[in-house]
Amino acid sequence: MREVAIVGTGITKFGELWDKSFRSIGIEAGIKAIEDAGMSGSEVDGIFIGNMSSRFINQQHIDALIADYSGMATRNVPAVRTEAGGASGGVAFRQGVMAIASGMHDVVLVGGAEKMTDLDDAGTALIMDSTADAEWEGSMGLTLTSLYAMIARRMIFEGKVTREEIASIAVNAHVNGARNSNAQFKNVIALETVLRSGPVADPLNVFDCAPYSDGAAAVVLVPLEQAKKMGVEYVKVSAVTQASDTLALFQREDITTFKATTVAAKEAYKIAGIEAKDINVAEVHDDYTVAGLMALQDLGLFKSGEAGKAVLEGQVGIDSKMALNPSGGLKARGYPVGASGVAQIVEITEQLRNKADNRQVANAKYGLAQSVGGTGSAVTISILEAI
């Protein structure tokens, strides 16, 4: 297999982009990535796009749409859309890496895009709920938020975290989001704000939940040997793994950990030849605050039971040994679902290239991104390395 490098990144603002269409944000991110790679666009020979639901914009065949509006259809470049709930973007990135590594493609554009605010909140929530088991969770009256709330309740009951520790994930996210010009929320919040916000699914409140957003992100991949000759700043893809688990949360032995995360992370560390303690910066899938805490434990970045304390005490800020979600995470940067997994890769790449502006993590060598679908039914782990 060939080693793979990221040579360009592009991202749009995340938020309620009412004046922009799905196709316009998708193309904006892609063009920025091509420009950043010093290319014209005609070099691209394959497209992978993470996009969760056609129901948000009532459009199937997203792959063809992107190929067309990105100017790739006139060159007949193949395009593939991937869907894995919240992990759609992470899976697109892995498919792109595999395409380069295998030798099937030489220049791949990986995009992620979602346009969620063309629907009202209730319609969007129903679509998100269907990333859990629609037949045996959704139709019984359970929502995706309530599933994460039940995880939170059980973790608190087992003494693994406290309510305040869970809430502190949102505080860290907003501190970082305030430094990110592309973030949906740029306001610093207090722990009390999270704890006193309106209940969504008790014990989780509004400020425990990532927002519904519009946005897109893209990266350009080439073989590592090619990247060395291009004269652009690039990072190496050291590992990208994926793991599955049951669709329904209630089918698991333990709901306080996502086994797909632990399995994929273990494999990724092995492939990259590093350990969890070598990670300097991580972008994890905090669609709910409790999920962010679970990630810190499941990724081995903190011992079980110690992650919450570390976040609450501010030990994961941008100036920490291991910086958590410097972009603001899903919570503050925004959560256009299919774009998220790719946006994480963009953020880690910027961090490792020292191009993250006023949220730069100092001397970062290894960065990790975790993308999660449903309640941990699909997880991708990517490890990037500074050159």
């Binding site: 129903l126 139709s139 009256g141 309530s146 309740r153 699914a201 709901i255």
Partner: protein, 134 residues
């Protein structure tokens, strides 16, 4: 009629908590599976109907305040995961109780209730919910 077919197909599980037991390893599942995820090929064709216990304890729960449109009139309502007396974990709603009094470990039993009144198809959905087992 397709919308109705989906309803009667699920009646054994939704009305009576019918799951599956693997004739190879003895593991039990709810909802039913056509193949044991542990035995795979060795268990194929050996899955039998299994009556899940209708009693158990609350394993975890949540009170839903931001409800889907179809359940708007129920809110706030409680959803639970139940550890049944025969060891399975199943999910559903907990009704006929004060939502502020729910605790992990509470004994519950399943009952047949209306789940919702139908969305666009007009089909009234029945299924199991849980009530306190006093």
């Amino acid at each position: 009629m397709a919308a109705v077919a989906k309803e009667w197909r699920e009646i054994p599980a939704r009305y009576n908590l019918e799951g599956s037991e693997c004739g190879n390893c003895g593991r039990k599942f709810f909802p039913k599976r056509n193949m044991c995820p542990h035995c795979r090929r060795n268990g194929f064709g050996k899955m039998h109907p299994y009556q899940v216990s209708k009693k158990g304890k609350i394993f975890t729960f949540s009170i839903i305040h931001d409800a889907p449109a179809i359940n708007m009139r129920l809110k706030p309502y409680a959803v639970v995961m139940i550890r049944t007396d025969d060891g399975l974990l199943i999910a559903g709603q907990l009704v006929d109780t004060d939502v502020s009094k729910i605790e992990i470990g509470m004994r519950v039993r399943s009952v047949l209730r209306i789940l919702d009144e139908g969305g666009t198809t007009g089909v009234i959905h029945y299924g199991f919910k849980f009530v306190p087992d006093l």
